[in-house]
Symmetry: C2
Subunit: 234 residues, 2 copies
């Protein structure tokens, strides 16, 4: 937790001593009354927090905004809905690397049961975004959406955004940085690979296929690798 | 487990039904007597395994070698010894991405207690390498060593290998792919950053400093990002 993030409505309200942020402030950062810490408002400014008071059950926090963080890189990830344990890592990593959006779609070779996970039916998914953003000293969370299928995810992309589909089997070229790091959409298939229909949808929608080399990587590794390569063109 | 890996001495010996590989073969891959599976010998050939017999307590496995996997990419990682949970992820990711070696060194701002973890005092560390290699259908494990300090790790590098130190604070340029992906050594500091002495050692040893952008990444994320960028030059 490099940055302690608060929701816009939370500043000025008591922060229960059982809240993980209060525990982190008092036990890990060892802050006492009057001490400062790096803080931010979710999707808002960064600044300095102050431990204004420590009561028997809650802290009182003050927040002094400094500056808005820069806008996120215009990288849009389309990801076949993975098993929850993989999705947790992707949410965290994508927020720490800083991308504009993640769209999870139901893929033909994916398992439909993944959508029923408590990861998605509770606020847990958002906590992984907060952890990733805080790691990177950012307040901005990627926009996360769920779509019924690949075509629906593609239809929601910003117009004119270049499109690359990661594919170990049918891609003719390696993913490389694009100088200037322009906007880009990156599509990742399920563990068991794209279906023939999905490859046809990608090609028809103007996706160029690219690979990350001959090795079979886990989806969360491929996401970090691909986003890092795209950002290396900045 | 995309590839079931055996030590050279294990083939032909009974494989206990309680061994994770036996459980994976029977329960996940649902292999029966006479069935084939993708297999390999650690640091040796890949090939096809056969379930020759299923006894009450053990399997008998046959192995038919096919080809040696390609040599690892000549990427050498020097990593400030991190907390065990981070080291587990790095061992797995580095083996799945495929690098030649990892050297963990004691850094000035690191915690010396990390070296006492059961990760390192038991064979656990090697299991993470095996898992990462199997994910990538590879049999080769990176060479893993521990050094007393950064200077000792540098002294053990192959001669003439270009050297890059990852540094969020003092690097003047971004890490970019090098066309042809020549041999390279990449050095990663501890969570709390390089000390002034360590930066001096890096510069004196001919390390160029490079960064991965302004965001503060966890070490395991930085390792995947940096290796992916270097490999993008292949």
């Amino acid at each position: 937790m490099n940055l302690i993030l608060f929701e816009a409505g939370e500043v000025g309200s008591p922060l229960a001593l059982t809240d993980p942020r209060a525990i982190h402030l008092l036990r890990v950062l060892k802050r006492r009354k009057g001490d400062l810490f790096d803080a931010g408002i979710v999707n808002g400014p960064r600044g300095k927090g102050t431990v204004a008071a420590i009561g028997p059950e809650a802290l009182v926090i003050r927040f002094e905004p400094a500056a808005e963080p820069p806008p996120p890189d215009p990288i849009h990830l389309l990801i076949a809905l993975p098993r929850p344990q993989t999705a947790r890592k992707i949410l965290n990593e994508a927020a720490s690397l800083g991308v504009a959006s993640l769209r999870f779609f139901r893929s033909e070779k994916g398992e439909s049961g993944y959508a029923a996970s408590t990861l998605w039916s509770t606020p847990e998914w958002r906590r992984h975004l907060l952890d990733g953003a805080a790691q990177a000293f950012d307040t901005r969370l990627p926009d996360v959406r769920h779509d019924a299928g690949l075509a629906a995810s593609i239809a929601a992309l910003p117009a004119g955004c270049p499109r690359i589909g990661l594919d170990n089997y049918e891609a003719a070229r390696r993913l490389r940085p694009v100088p200037g790091a322009p906007p880009v959409a990156l599509a990742f298939g399920p563990e068991r690979g794209w279906s023939a229909d999905e490859r046809a949808i990608l090609r028809e929608a103007g996706f160029e296929l690219a690979h990350l080399g001959p090795r079979v990587l886990r989806t969360e590794t491929a996401v970090v690798a691909a986003v890092a390569i795209i950002k290396a063109g900045a």
